[in-house]
């Protein structure tokens, strides 16, 4: 798959790559140090041989309940090369106390909304992002719901609810069972 691309990256920035592996489906992954992320991404995008011009998606993993959970978050980037027809998968680990990464939005326009998504649901800030707001939830929302320590049924309604006493439907937002 994109082992070639990762070989190029390793050759170019030997100290940027912390770890590399190939998953069961044959996809090549690289764990990148956070400080190197913009340089590695710029290299992958602009190198004429690699040409990873398409920002596929970004997401995060909260590893709170996994055996290996330090640092807590892993942000995952999927890039695609339109000339080589292959993906490259990058991971960046970030701790809970820092929860901050350099933004790729100045480099890839497609990264803009994905980083807002990661901020919205995992609370990881992206420095240098032009407009880091919540993307799906409302601004009044407190906390980041895809973090594993977000309470299971913590709902934050925008308008008061009618009291309904005659139906049992589990714990509700109004505190009425």
């Amino acid at each position: 798959m994109s082992i070639f691309a990762l070989d190029r990256v390793t050759a170019q920035f030997p100290e940027a790559v912390a770890e590399r592996y190939v998953d069961r489906a044959g996809g090549a992954w690289a764990v990148i140090h956070a400080d190197w992320l913009p340089k590695v991404a710029a290299f992958l995008k602009n190198d004429p041989e690699l040409n990873f011009k398409l920002f596929g998606s970004a997401d995060a993993v909260d590893r709170l309940h996994l055996a290996e959970n330090d640092p807590r978050f892993e942000v995952v980037y999927f890039l695609y090369s339109l000339t080589r027809h292959e993906h490259v998968r990058l991971k960046v680990r970030v701790s809970e106390s820092k929860a901050e990464l350099p933004s790729l939005a100045p480099l890839y326009r497609g990264a803009d909304w994905w980083e807002r998504f990661v901020w919205d649901f995992y609370g990881i800030r992206f420095t240098g992002h032009p407009d880091l707001r919540r993307i799906l939830l409302y601004e009044e929302f407190q906390g980041h719901p895809l973090r594993k320590d977000y309470a299971l049924r913590d709902r934050q309604p925008l308008i008061p609810e009618r009291p309904i006493k005659d139906i049992f439907r589990g714990p509700g937002t109004s505190g009425i069972a």
């Binding site: 939830l137 409302y138 719901p145 977000y150 049924r153 709902r155 308008i159 009618r162 009291p163 309904i164």
Partner: protein
Amino acid sequence: MADSDIAPILTTRHEEAMGFFQRMVSKGLGWARKYSLFTYPYATACCGMEYMSVAASRHDISRFGAEFPRFSPRQADLLMVVGTINLKQAPILKRVYEQMCEPKWVVAFGVCASSGGFYDNYAVLQGIDRIIPVDVYIPGCPPRPEQVLDGLMMLQEKIGSQVHRIADRGQPNATAAHHERMLSAGK
């Protein structure tokens, strides 16, 4: 003979007459209303597909007098909440409901609208009856068109048997007092 002696009898006669009149008017109005429902399809999720199916020619909801989807709440008297309502959407739904003119009815279409369905999480309102009153709940994920038609007929039955309140000039604040009672009963 004092005035107070005949007053109760006169009141009873008045009430009887009003009652008869009210039943006649209610029957006629109910019959007229139940076959001219104008739906506002508030379709937010996958149940919307089933709504399209029930509104299209195969199942054809207009056979039952719910002829025409109106996309303005001002022109509609039946709010069909079709699909998942999340907490961000809830104020919008409430406003649409408030914009509709009386008399108005609400149908919760599918389990998401009725109870939140399997979305028991941070984002989803656990049933639209937590914000607006609901007349008929249609279960199913999504409900079959037959179920929707059945629900519609239940609603028509309900509309047909609703009592129309006739304003009584003797009690100018009857409606306000009634609201007051309803509110304190609901608490």
